[in-house]
Symmetry: C3
Subunit: 298 residues, 3 copies
Amino acid sequence: MAGVATVIAAPPAGAATREFWVAAVPVTWNMVPNQFDAITGTRHDPAQTVLGTVVYRRFARGWHHALPNTPDSGNQNLIPGPLLRARVGDKLVVHFKNLDFARRDSHSMHFHGVRYRPSSDGAFVPGVSGGDGDVKPGRTWTYRLTAGRDAAGVWPYHDHSRAMHESIDGGMYGMLSILERTDPLPDREFVVVFASMGDFQTIDGRAFVGDTPVFRARVGQLIQWDVMAMGSEHHTFHVHGHRWLGPGGAPRDTQTVGPAESFRIRWREREPGTWLYHCHVEDHMEAGMIGTYNVSRR
Amino acid sequence: MAGVATVIAAPPAGAATREFWVAAVPVTWNMVPNQFDAITGTRHDPAQTVLGTVVYRRFARGWHHALPNTPDSGNQNLIPGPLLRARVGDKLVVHFKNLDFARRDSHSMHFHGVRYRPSSDGAFVPGVSGGDGDVKPGRTWTYRLTAGRDAAGVWPYHDHSRAMHESIDGGMYGMLSILERTDPLPDREFVVVFASMGDFQTIDGRAFVGDTPVFRARVGQLIQWDVMAMGSEHHTFHVHGHRWLGPGGAPRDTQTVGPAESFRIRWREREPGTWLYHCHVEDHMEAGMIGTYNVSRR
Amino acid sequence: MAGVATVIAAPPAGAATREFWVAAVPVTWNMVPNQFDAITGTRHDPAQTVLGTVVYRRFARGWHHALPNTPDSGNQNLIPGPLLRARVGDKLVVHFKNLDFARRDSHSMHFHGVRYRPSSDGAFVPGVSGGDGDVKPGRTWTYRLTAGRDAAGVWPYHDHSRAMHESIDGGMYGMLSILERTDPLPDREFVVVFASMGDFQTIDGRAFVGDTPVFRARVGQLIQWDVMAMGSEHHTFHVHGHRWLGPGGAPRDTQTVGPAESFRIRWREREPGTWLYHCHVEDHMEAGMIGTYNVSRR
């Protein structure tokens, strides 16, 4: 039962206002840049793996220049969108600019997990919502969010404009990562988004071992996995050789995540080796939803 | 681990016997009465949205006259079936009459969450079950149920006769809502059943914003959502601008619900605005599984 | 958050090393041996229900002779593979022999829930894994596992070789059942694996009431259900007339289980009768994922 955050009193000591600049940009994206499935040995032709799409991209203050979306990802940092980090009590101000001059669609940002007024909801509902859900090419919108006491965890954000379905299929999603005020920062934070894309089942927009992100850590480090799904399918997240505690405290090593669900896993690493992480839905593994996690000794 | 209700001793003080009269009745049902998807502007022709079906309908004691199925729903109150309310310790006596003189199928009621003897199970198993799972047109059956100490929550009931599959696809399902003896009644109780119906993905038998139930509340009210799924698909329930505590106490705003799963969410409302609630499976949203929740200021 | 088992100190008093002999063997398997769906009365022709496949089979020490895979199952004991029982703190040594001289595929065993070095992972990754993920016909591999403090529960094991997908579709999976050191043994332990197989939806490789396992218990017995799913679909496990406590302590009688997820349910039986247990996904019930559970009086 909810109700924990019924009263938002004065923000906690140290609470900050965090500003982010995020643009929707058209890009050419290759789901299988190595053109190769390292497990089966299958070759994949660029004609089947490259598509034009629109993604979220992080910019420096005032749109000065583009920045990497995600710090610990080995890929080109365009899918998922920027990892937006905050702490409970913070205010988040997200400046969004629609630079989609390719499809010329309206776009938006809709955030899970945080508090906001309807004008920062970002969903397109004719006769109800305003510009927040319908940011036209060349225009901007500022979303004002508060990380309440019930915001600790990881959460999706995504396009919720009229073009929502096509945008999400093309990679217009990202995550919020919100810590309690005194939570230690993890040493490594891995963002895993399960989503289908064309004929492939992707992790962070990439398919097959060697193309999906190769996550790296050392024994002794504090590891955090930020996991979510987008689209129309349920997945089961599994990491080889590791376990964590699920809801209610039962240990597990496989966890269902449906569209727009998300969860955070932490452990202190102590298992050196090269491990697989993957969706355990067999059809999804076969279509690319699998990668490697390399743990080196100290 | 279960076992909490190993001994049913004397019923708690104030426990009641609650009687319900529920009939299976043939009706003509329109999944999209406005013939319109308010978000995309798509028109829907009655030829595709109207079907003949059989539903559960609440009656007054002794079959005197029909009554609304669900108190807080804005729709015609035929799908889902009657919301059956009780408290832990109560006995429920459900008088069921099969008035399906259209398809002339046998029907039944099978209840989740409550205790009963096999003769109140309501499932059709040749050579094992009796009349409880095979109530022929014009006949009645009385189901005798007990809300045990592990019955608090919301639960499905549905047809479990030989025609189960077709009946569930046509809307023959409803919910039990069982409170602890001292739980306060909510000010508003919203019943949300996710189910596919023909080519549409419906909430309470209706598809698309403006056709699905418009739930209404005021700031300060105690809100309860009763959520379940029926049929063959998994869904993710999401409400914009709100969060609740999931199993184990982690806050969430999106929750998977598979066929015959169910959960109850409560919050004290404090977010004025017009909000979307929907299944977050993209294909399901697009096929109608979305509605609005209007919160007015006090 | 994990981290509970950060330090594996000396094994607890009484910890044992448990050895198992498991072979991959080709068999002819009939999904519907009665050729009959007892609920609908439909006949099923062996031409559609019999297939050649490869399964895990338990052997006595030193491959002396074959043994039943699962003690409390009423079926032919070939699908799922051997139920591997241990307690927290134990070491498990699993001797695997590939006797697949029919398809002549490589096979392997990959275990969930337990600790092991990469050489006991059992997954095929070219350039990374060794013989553990690629045991050729006629060869053996020994997997060395530790049931850590976070291993209590039930867990899948399955083929993770290059032939993984075909093997899992054919029934190459089984379960680990790990108790805390002082947990009482259940009186009855029922293994339920949901998996599609050809056109059927099976429980332990069998479809339809009368063909799926008939589980039997008496009032007063301590019952344990070991439930998991394999393949590409999500399921919802339901038992008529019974409830248990889900994660976080909320009572339930229906629970989603996705591919490679697993859970254990225990109750002290007190409900005499013939009950249905089934997957509550309607299409799956109709395709065979349903069985009976018979509880007799003391």
